[in-house]
């Protein structure tokens, strides 16, 4: 079957998608976005966490067809997503006010400002590991905080943690340690670098409140 969705602000289309295929497989193998990691395939590890219509979900548990016409943000689009959120005129993302108190659907991310965040497929396919340049403008604040706090060891869990941590900071500007632990409770780090990960989230929150 054919599946269309918006990924990191860009329309994407995949053909010949198997009906039982996961959103994670489509992102990695068909759209060339390998940032979301494939580990447990059962929702235990959080390595594949993405935002689906603004809501953090395990991409391995979303059937590809369920993402039809939906808006997906992956770690590759996190910097632009965060930048757009912090731009006053660009407040169309699924921010804290997108919740629906009466029940019903989750907020949709409408890119009404015409920005096209996210990296291109060819950039993603030719991505190479290299040291981050200092003060790189391409990073979301939470990504910079992970680097500065030394929260990245093998790096496999990092993309999922970044997406989850960014969503926490979006809805809670001054999270308590309990808030952070709960928000990240669905993300496993097998290097067990949890303390520095907590440090990184605290650092990102502190920097955001200083800047505000």
């Amino acid at each position: 079957m054919r599946v269309n969705m918006t990924v990191n602000g860009r329309p994407q289309e995949a053909d010949d998608v198997w009906e039982g295929e996961s959103l994670l497989y489509v992102l990695r193998e068909r759209f060339g976005l390998p940032g979301s990691k494939n580990a447990c395939e059962q929702g235990e590890c959080g390595s594949c966490t993405v935002r689906l219509d603004g809501v953090p979900v395990c991409a391995c548990l979303v059937a590809a067809g369920q993402a039809q016409s939906r808006d997906v943000v992956t770690v590759e689009g996190l910097a632009d997503f965060a930048k757009q959120r912090s731009t006053p005129c660009g407040g169309h993302g699924p921010g804290p006010d997108a919740g629906d108190a009466t029940g019903g659907g989750a907020g949709r991310a409408d890119r009404a400002d015409g920005l096209a965040p996210g990296i291109s497929i060819s950039d993603a396919q030719h991505w190479q590991a290299k040291p981050a340049e200092s003060a790189s403008p391409e990073l979301a604040p939470v990504q910079q905080a992970f680097i500065d706090a030394g929260a990245v060891q093998c790096g496999f869990c990092t993309p999922g943690l970044l997406v989850a941590a960014d969503e926490l900071l979006e809805r809670t500007s001054e999270p308590s340690d309990a808030d952070i632990r709960e928000a990240l409770s669905g993300n496993l780090c097998r290097c067990t670098g949890y303390e520095t990960i907590l440090d990184a989230v605290r650092l990102a929150a502190a920097r955001a409140s200083e800047g505000a």
Binding site: Q42, C58, A164, E182, G186
Partner: protein, 300 residues
């Protein structure tokens, strides 16, 4: 495999009638695991995520009609007052990512003996609203679980909603596992005080082939509270009553040894959880009874 995308509930019922083997999928937190691990290859996947009605709830005078696909996160955030036991149980499900997708309808559809919602639903009192092109039937949750991962749904039926009795008194939920998140219950216990009827209802999870109520324990406690005048006096429940209740609750279990725990441990843990949840719920009841009587605040 075919991927069916009904745009409305009527279309979904028609699709299920035409393809009774179709597997409904909403949050995917059970179904996708089975597909990813090649444990299941359904001929049809019936995607319910386009049907907005399933994501809404209505709070009536006596019941909450909870759409089958309302995610746990929404229950925790918006229905804690009406459904405190279910909100507590929802908070123990998986992780934030899982709670953003998983729902009570999915929990009931899977009908795992370890499903976290089931003890809360049994204790509160609930009916499953099953619909098909033939019509609607309300299945009491007590009759819903028919075996390990088996339920009372007919092949052409889908769960439209769950009708849960609104709490008129304190409710509690307790679950044993190795950590706070991402845990399948070793065993679980739900308890609801019903002060209007002066009854207590319970639910036991993961300690029998299906979720069950501890009916003998409920009857004993209801009678003991009544005879002792506890509902009116609001006095502390005597330890001997609590102990007897716990032992009877343990007796309602029919557990097995498995990777998560032994049968003996489960029996023991259910007794402990029964005693503790009763204590917590009764303390809340006493606090509200005190304040409605205008009594002085109690010291800690």
């Amino acid at each position: 495999m075919d991927f069916l995308r009904p745009a409305s509930w009527e279309e979904a019922l028609a699709a299920k009638a035409e393809h009774p083997s179709a597997v409904p999928i909403a949050g995917g937190t059970d179904v996708m695991v089975e597909i990813n691990f090649d444990h299941r290859r359904p001929d049809y996947l019936l995607d319910l995520t386009r049907i907005g009605d399933l994501y809404e709830w209505e709070a009536g005078a006596e019941q909450v009609r909870l759409g089958a696909a309302v995610p746990y996160t929404q229950i925790m955030e918006h229905l804690r007052g009406e459904l405190p036991g279910l909100a507590l149980a929802a908070h123990t499900v998986g992780s934030p990512q899982i709670r953003n997708r998983g729902s009570v309808g999915g929990n009931l559809g899977a009908a795992s003996p370890a499903g976290d919602c089931h003890p809360a639903l049994l204790a509160a009192g609930a009916e499953v609203e099953a619909q098909s092109v033939r019509g609607t039937r309300l299945i009491p949750v007590d009759d819903f679980f028919t075996g390990v991962k088996r339920n009372a749904l007919a092949p052409d039926e889908l769960i439209r909603a769950v009708r849960i009795v609104k709490a008129a008194g304190p409710q509690q939920f307790s679950k044993v596992g190795t950590r706070n998140a991402m845990v399948i219950a070793v065993c679980a216990f739900g308890l609801a005080l019903h002060p209007t009827e002066r009854t207590v209802k319970t639910g036991i999870g993961s300690a029998a082939p299906t979720p069950v109520r501890a009916k003998v324990a409920e009857d004993f406690l209801t009678a003991a509270l009544d005879e002792g005048g506890f509902w009116d006096s609001g006095k502390v429940i005597t330890p001997s009553i609590a102990r007897q209740f716990a032992e009877l609750a343990s007796g309602a279990c029919n557990p097995i040894d498995d990777v998560r725990g032994t049968a003996a441990y489960r029996r023991h843990a259910v007794a402990v959880m029964a005693r503790r949840t009763l204590g917590w719920a009764w303390e809340s009841y006493r606090a509200t009874a005190d304040s409605t009587k205008g009594g002085a605040p109690r010291c800690a």
